[in-house]
Point group: C2
Chain length 214, copies 2
């Protein structure tokens, strides 16, 4: 019996360890992660030199365009870069960082908002308190007009909005991966292009975490 | 503007295609798939020469041991090999194939049972009709005694049992990946071993498809 059992144990060990390919897959993930970060840095470098890039991208993304209204539209002009990262293990969720130029509305240079899925399933989304310049607090915070609730800075600071999680998903899964397609919807009208651009249709985003406000 | 936009388009194209690593991950999956099939064939080759290997493995796996009772225990002795495969895209689910030696109970040489998750979310699980030899239909099918409902061949042929999906998951996710650990629980008692074996604790299986009978 041992003559058959020892080779069987050796084969089972191979199946349990080598054949899973865990190490090789991790190495490949790291390689493409590095490549991705390299191109994202290059992309950021160019985008920050285009005035109002993110404001335009937000405005042209269906389901986000309503966030770019009133004073918020003008404030969004000062967002020079956006960074979206997964939270590090063991935390689950993601973090949005908005880098801002000096502007007449608030003093922060970087503002961040997190969506963390706790082990209970509840999602919490703290954000950087915004230091408004005197008399520049946006009116939307007063909530007198329900229509204004969903402006960009209300989404950023108010964690109880029902659509908060959905907006975060659209930014993370569609706007941030390819903002250029939305920027060019605006730009395309004004530019005499040398060749046609393939613009992707806005897609329905799957809901990996089922973000809920909390 | 074009001077900035064309490099941005090139970078975005890299991010959308090369950086996803789709091709490299597929190649790695294929490589480890081939390696895995190679070792599984070797494992099958050895297992089929050990009389009653699968019967013993079933008997020693908690939550499956009750399936190996009465006439079924004797019939399971004739199962020489088990094969579990994912269904091919676009179908979702898996297929169990049991290879059987010539035996006094039924005529089939291979019997198969599928669990397919339909787009509606409903799980269907058709199986090969068993051609019983005259007078050998197992009594469990008559269902006079509710205790006998969950014998191996009742699970195989009856698609309405509440625990059917759970049993399929245990076979797919735990018994089939490493049947040796359960076979040796029995064997270990009789063998004078040269070195101790690490036996894994039976694990709680996650439910990827939430198999439901139907």
């Amino acid at each position: 019996m041992n003559l058959r059992m020892d080779p069987l144990e050796a084969i089972q060990l191979e199946l349990d360890t080598e054949c899973s390919g865990g190490r090789a897959f991790r190495q490949l993930e790291q390689k493409f992660g590095r490549m991705r970060r390299h191109y994202l840095e290059q992309r950021n470098y160019i985008i920050q030199s285009i005035l109002g890039f993110w404001m335009t991208a937000f405005r042209n993304r269906p389901q986000l365009s309503h966030m770019d209204r009133g004073q918020d539209a003008d404030m969004l002009r000062y967002v020079t870069n956006l960074e979206v990262r997964e939270l590090r293990h063991p935390r689950t969720g993601c973090k949005f960082k908005f880098f801002c130029r000096r502007n007449p509305y608030f003093k922060n240079k970087v503002i961040a908002k997190e969506y963390e899925v706790r082990s209970s399933g509840r999602v919490v989304s703290p954000s950087t308190p915004i230091t408004w310049r005197r008399g520049r607090e946006p009116q939307t915070f007063i909530r007198r007009n329900q229509d204004l609730i969903c402006s960009f800075f209300t989404w950023f600071s108010d964690h109880s909005l029902p659509e908060s999680g959905r907006i975060a998903e659209i930014i993370k899964e569609d706007l941030w991966p390819n903002p250029l397609q939305y920027y060019l919807l605006h730009e395309g009208v004004r530019r005499a292009r040398r060749r046609p651009i393939l613009i992707r249709e806005p897609v329905e985003i799957p809901r990996p975490f089922g973000f809920q406000s909390g």
